[in-house]
């Protein structure tokens, strides 16, 4: 089961286009789009009213409450998503290989735009370990703006805080640290000086998807990094990544 999200950045418009079909086949026309947002530590479930046609649901920033997440379900199933105030996995509509994805497109006021095929898998929402991502891969040193959208969805409706770190691995030094929250798109501006191969974005106890944004002369690049275990095909992938993160955990502790 996959969830979908908008960006909620006041300086950028985002548009989420959620398909009513899998890569290989159509879904039933009775599939509807639902949303969840947290309020006073409770999940609030709504049926989403938005533009749609026979192929897609279309959601714009202005159509929704910040940090809302979306999912597809049959009408009579949707209410099962919350059990004991936590999110449950209720269907396999979006369990496909390759992953079921929505198109998340962003646009600046000059019409510069970029998108990627986005999703947030159910398996990730229960994870509390952090992420590690190099800064130099997807950011642009001479861009006008560089930032990371770090999106977390947590299975509980709580907004708890954690830290993010910009770490120079070679010097074993924290260059910057700040607060990030669960169930939110956290926006982290990156100084151009930080963009080199020694520096990493690291979180120790909040998982999520780091989406990298660079803008120069109103042209945009917008893409997420792979989690490191995707570079390993053998069964030792998680132990290798754990080892890799160990060095960073030692630096922040």
């Amino acid at each position: 089961m996959n969830f979908f999200f908008c960006l909620d950045d006041t300086n950028i418009n985002s548009k989420l286009t959620i398909p009513k079909f899998q890569n290989e086949q159509n879904l039933k026309q009775s599939i509807l789009l639902f949303s969840l947002h947290s309020q006073n530590n409770k999940w609030i479930l709504n049926k989403t009213e938005c533009d749609s046609d026979c192929d897609f649901f279309y959601i714009k920033d202005k159509d929704h409450i910040h940090n809302t997440i979306y999912f597809l379900a049959q009408e009579n199933d949707a209410h099962n998503i919350i059990k004991n105030n936590v999110i449950s996995n209720i269907n396999k509509l979006t369990d496909t290989n390759p992953a079921f994805r929505a198109n998340l497109e962003i646009e600046n006021e000059m019409g510069g735009f970029s998108s990627y095929q986005s999703d947030y898998p159910f398996d990730m929402i229960k994870i509390s370990n952090g992420i590690l991502s190099p800064l130099s891969i997807l950011l642009t040193e001479n861009a006008d703006i560089n930032k990371i959208y770090f999106r977390n969805i947590f299975f509980k409706p709580t907004a708890h805080n954690g830290n993010y770190y910009i770490i120079n691995k070679k010097q074993k030094k924290i260059l910057e640290q700040g607060i990030i929250e669960t169930n939110k798109t956290n926006i982290i501006h990156i100084k151009n000086d930080f963009i080199n191969e020694e520096n990493y974005f690291f979180t120790s106890n909040i998982s999520g998807i780091p989406i990298y944004f660079s803008q120069k002369n109103n042209h945009i690049s917008f893409e997420h990094t792979h989690p490191p275990h995707q570079y390993i095909l053998s069964e030792d992938k998680y132990s290798l990544v754990k080892n890799l993160k160990k060095n960073f955990n030692e630096i922040i502790n």
């Binding site: 286009t17 192929d55 970029s114 997807l138 191969e197 995707q230 390993i232 053998s234």
Partner: protein, 252 residues
């Protein structure tokens, strides 16, 4: 008994049969790849129409094992004819390679490339290079996309072994891109045949063919849905969408 059945079911020969018959196929089959080998996604380079490509790649052995890699990057044209091959040693952890028409000896076209890592040490793991390519048109910003399909593996005797992405013997599969293409000036769909034999495919209702590992860029305009139908288990494109003066690149 259950274990034995499972073992038979997942035996490479049985997997081959399952895939041919489209019976619970393994779409990305890496079971036949030995440890210590390096798998590469199929990456697109393009230098035509004022494009430049940048490849941002990681020395994966250095990242995970603290060992330096020897890296080989092999470039092919769209007909899978090898154009050039580069060998690197003593790389940085993160590396950039710019591919423009000068790099390609004046060629203004497109094709594919693959990256393979080698190490002297015996490392009991299989690595996959699925790094990032950026595409820049008319000197604007590079728009990045990550690798999306493991395609080739380099064996110890430096021959390129294939057969990671399977295909069905009988049945066509749909691969409908989960995006609405209608509101762009136009889009381009980059496709590579990731299998080791010729495939026929349909982009919506138009039929095309691609020889093994060959690639093609198809222009589409004012179509809402792009459906790719082929016998290949995963026929996943890279998409370039154009609106006004701006470009968006992402995997499909």
């Amino acid at each position: 008994m259950k274990l034995l059945i499972k073992k038979i079911y997942n035996h490479p020969n049985f997997v081959f049969l399952r895939n041919l018959l489209d019976f619970n196929p393994i779409k990305i089959n890496t079971s036949h790849i030995s440890p210590n080998l390096s798998v590469s996604d199929g990456f697109l380079w393009r230098t035509e129409k004022n494009f430049r490509t940048i490849f941002k790649f990681t020395d994966l052995y250095k990242l995970f094992f603290g060992e330096l890699s020897k890296v080989k990057i092999v470039f092919y044209d769209k007909n899978f004819k090898q154009l050039k091959s580069l060998n690197f040693s003593d790389l940085n952890l993160y590396n950039n390679l710019t591919i423009d028409k000068n790099f390609m000896h004046g060629i203004e076209d497109y094709g594919t490339f693959y990256i393979f890592h080698e190490t002297e040490k015996n490392i009991d793991s299989i690595i996959r290079n699925s790094c990032y390519t950026g595409y820049q048109k008319n000197n604007k910003i590079f728009s990045f996309v990550h690798g999306n399909l493991p395609t080739l593996v380099n064996t110890k005797n430096r021959k390129i072994q294939k057969n990671i992405i399977g295909k069905s013997l009988f049945f066509y599969k749909n691969y409908k891109i989960q995006k609405n293409f209608f509101n762009y000036d136009f889009s381009e769909i980059f496709l590579q045949n990731p299998t080791n034999s010729k495939i026929f495919f349909f982009l919506n209702n138009t039929k095309y063919s691609l020889n093994k590992y060959c690639s093609i860029i198809l222009k589409i305009k004012k179509e809402k849905i792009i459906n790719l139908k082929s016998k290949c288990f995963i026929f996943r494109p890279i998409v370039f969408s154009y609106k006004n003066n701006y470009i968006d690149v992402h995997h499909g």
